[in-house]
């Protein structure tokens, strides 16, 4: 079947679905939503509908990124626009159904926004609300709107236009387009994606691979989960285009084991694509064949490091190899391999479908495009936002996530081993790759963790270091011993047994760990320690000199307290 026929059919179904002749209830069903109680809300909704004797369709969708408003649901009555409500309790949801579906009362008090161009009964349109007006949604454009397991929903919303267009281009042209778009890796290192693909395309050999890195191990980051749970088809389309551009016929997606829902949705999506000839042999009738293998992790942070990821897929411990050679020439099974993050690949279909000029026009001069960031911690409205580069972080943290400006201590962006900077400083920076690099930091994977005043910085760093120590794979000793030395020293400080020379010791060994380690894990393991000693030295001093924890979080040992 050609794409046109598939899309025409899908559009027809989508039209009927979005102009329903009976009420539609769409439940937000991401992991956040389920943890917040979406299952009970759904049961309450089904019950309420039964009581009202109303025939309605109860559907599901991924998460729009308003994690604070979960459990959420959307209601669309025949001839009316779709309205989002949240946060709800099961009882509140039942009442809402009775009011909205039973009595036609739009319940403005619980409404968040409406999918329409103009306000409806005083409910603002989605894109005019505070949370959406600054966003520019590319990878998240369908999340929270379509059913993540219904291929027709995706096809009716621009799905597979990118791949169809890519198949009319040569692989080199696709790589060139991605290069000109200015797309850079969203996994942390921000390496230009087109350049990486060019290396792989040029590499000798007929057997090549693409790997999608879905091991999102950085605490505080859940952008990849939003994509996989909200719009898995788009990700697979991106992987397929990457495979076409690099001459790969087989690809892997490596999903961390903590993501059962994402894994299940990606698997379902792959099955549906195979059934329609969009994955497998002779995709869309061309002579390009590609299949995707979905692999689950087993709990190891180093599986996110590209070389560790490759080892793990090969069936070994996730131990990084030394580089060079880089994966682009010697990757999986020592064949040329492209490893990209979920969000990076999810950007590709739109770049090809709408043209690189469009993407390159977004963002700032030096950081092009958009990026999904997630904000959590000491904020009132944690969530995920897809923003063009250039938006001030002050707006993101204070207005979008609604942190309390009087309760801000520090911000950590992008994983356990990234910069921990004073909040006042972070609030002066813009969102941007090079812009942040100029300020001596990076945005890493885009997970912003806001640390409030009640947190104890040395204790937080202790916990981070425990994690970094446990996840050190043990292959190179600067990382293994360095994280251990840091942990032991921090533990001593947090127990009130610190020595005055401890801080200098930790600063002294930093370069050895940074320059001696084999992979990116050890190379940055010192960052949280050095940053916090630089910016929050006073807190360490209280622990060391006065043997107490001002926040009352550290467990000062009785011996130390008595001295």
């Amino acid at each position: 079947m050609t794409l046109e026929t598939l899309v025409a059919e899908a559009r027809g179904r989508w039209e009927r679905k979005t102009n329903p002749d009976r009420p539609r209830i769409i439940i937000s069903a991401g992991s956040c939503g389920i943890f917040a109680g979406a299952r009970k809300v759904k049961a309450a909704v089904v019950d309420a509908l039964k009581r009202l004797h109303v025939d309605a369709s109860v559907e599901k969708t991924g998460c729009v990124g308003l994690c604070w408003a979960e459990p959420m649901l959307d209601i669309q009555l025949p001839g009316r626009p779709r309205v989002a409500y949240g946060p709800l309790t099961p009882a509140g949801a039942a009442q809402l159904i009775e009011d909205v579906v039973g009595r036609g009362n739009p319940r403005v008090d619980k409404a968040l926004y409406v999918y329409a161009d103009a306000p409806y009964e005083g409910i603002p349109p989605r894109d005019q609300t505070d949370w959406f007006k600054l966003q520019y949604r590319v990878t998240q454009r369908n999340a929270g709107i379509i059913d993540p397991e219904d291929l027709d929903d995706y096809l009716a919303n621009g799905g597979y236009e990118g791949l169809a267009r890519a198949l009319t281009m040569t692989p080199a042209e696709v790589v060139e387009a991605v290069k000109k778009a200015g797309l850079r890796g969203c996994g942390g290192a921000a390496f230009p994606t087109g350049l990486k693909w060019e290396f792989c395309l040029r590499a000798r050999g007929t057997e090549k691979y693409v790997i999608c890195n879905a091991d999102e191990g950085n605490a505080g980051t859940w952008k990849d989960r939003l994509i996989m749970e909200g719009d898995p088809f788009q990700l697979i389309e991106g992987i397929t285009i990457a495979a076409y551009a690099n001459g790969a016929s087989r690809g892997f997606i490596y999903i961390r084991d903590e993501y059962p829902l994402a894994s299940s949705r990606v698997r379902t999506a792959a099955e549906k694509l195979r059934a329609r000839g969009l994955l497998g042999d002779n995709i869309l009738g061309s002579n390009f064949s590609f299949d995707l293998v979905i692999r689950d992790g087993a709990g190891s942070y180093l599986c996110g490091e590209e070389m560790g990821l490759i080892s793990s897929i090969e069936g070994d411990r996730a131990m990084p190899r030394s580089r060079p050679p880089f994966p682009a020439t010697n990757g999986l099974f020592y064949k040329p391999t492209v490893v990209n993050n979920v969000e990076t690949l999810a950007n590709v279909p739109q770049i090809i479908a709408r043209g690189w000029e469009w993407y390159a026009g977004l963002g700032t001069e030096r950081s092009k495009g958009v990026r999904t960031i997630t904000v959590s911690g000491a904020v009132r409205r944690p969530g995920g936002f897809e923003l063009p580069f250039g938006v001030p972080l002050r707006t993101v943290i204070l207005d979008l996530a609604q942190a309390d400006p009087t309760d801000l201590k520090a911000v950590q962006m992008g994983g356990p081993a990234s910069n921990i900077l004073p909040a006042d400083f972070v609030l002066t920076l813009p969102l941007g790759l090079d812009e942040l690099r100029d300020a001596g930091t990076t945005m890493g994977s885009g997970g912003f963790v806001v640390v409030g005043r009640q947190s104890c910085i040395p204790n937080l760093v202790l916990q981070l270091m425990e994690f970094l120590r446990d996840e050190s794979c043990g292959k190179c000793f600067p990382c293994q011993m360095g994280t251990r030395a840091y942990y032991n020293t921090l533990l001593r400080i947090c127990r009130g047994e610190g020595r005055p020379e401890d801080l200098d010791f930790m600063l002294d060994i930093a370069p050895a760990i940074q320059f001696g380690s084999l992979c990116g894990h050890g190379q940055v393991a010192h960052v949280p320690v050095v940053d916090t000693i630089t910016h929050f030295r006073a807190e360490y001093d209280v622990h060391i000199r006065e043997r107490r924890c001002p926040q009352g979080i550290c467990e000062i040992s009785p011996v130390a307290a008595a001295v």
Binding site: I27, A29, S31, C32, G33, I34, F35, A36, G37, A38, R39, K40, C67, W68, E70, E149, E216, G217, N218, A219, G220, W222, D257, E258, Y259, P260, L261, S263, S264, R267, T268, D296, G297, A298, G299, S300, Y301, E314, G315, D316, R317, A318, T374, S376, G377, A378, P382, Q412, P416, G447, V449, S455, N459, L460, Q463, L464, E466, F467, I553, C554
Partner: protein, 185 residues
């Protein structure tokens, strides 16, 4: 895992045949080591060390390689765990929002530190790096029951079964991906 008192354990009967049967789909595929160990873990609740020789033969790797893998990945258990596994998120957000105090409470109640099992074999305490649902931090899970925005005061209620949790989305149990019906809404 508990250094002090690992629960007593006998070699499961009929282990060799069972493992060969379980691993039939992976025979000779050395890339599927982790998945193979997960299947064994699903059957026994952990990966019995005695199974490694047979598994190594089936997969075509050395027993040492498998042993290394078993001890490397966090969600593969080389020893039996307690009847109920308590997972506490050890991610940055949960840490900043109260996990240290929650852990202290668990220690006072059950005497557990990370990876330890109570002497009666009832509970094992394990960290989970981050559920990546940090908007609901701190998160605590007992088997498949999840508790979100946990306060230290709630720890007792949770352990006594007085607090209602959310079913589903098992994380870090080291089993193959659950069937769709079990995780979907």
């Amino acid at each position: 895992m508990s250094e002090s008192q690992p629960p007593r354990r006998a070699v499961p009967a009929g282990l060799e045949e069972r493992v060969r049967q379980l691993l039939a789909p992976f025979r000779g595929d050395r890339t599927m080591t982790v998945d193979a160990l997960k299947v064994i873990q699903q059957a026994y609740g952990y990966v019995p060390p005695e199974s490694l020789r047979v598994a190594a033969e089936e997969l075509g790797v050395s027993e040492n390689t498998l042993d290394g893998i078993l001890h490397f990945y966090e969600f593969l258990f080389p020893r039996p765990v307690g009847e109920r596994v308590i997972r506490v998120c050890s991610g940055t957000v949960c840490q900043a929002l109260g996990v240290p105090v929650i852990l202290r409470r668990i220690r006072e109640r059950l005497g557990l530190r990370w990876y330890e099992t109570t002497p009666d074999g009832k509970y094992t305490l394990m960290p989970l790096p981050c559920y990546n649902t940090c908007a609901y931090a701190p998160i605590l899970q007992i088997d498949t029951l999840t508790f979100v925005r946990v306060t230290p005061e709630q720890v007792d209620e949770i352990l006594d079964g007085r607090l209602e949790g959310v079913e589903g989305l098992p994380c870090g149990d080291g089993k193959p991906t659950p069937p769709r019906e079990e995780v979907e809404l």
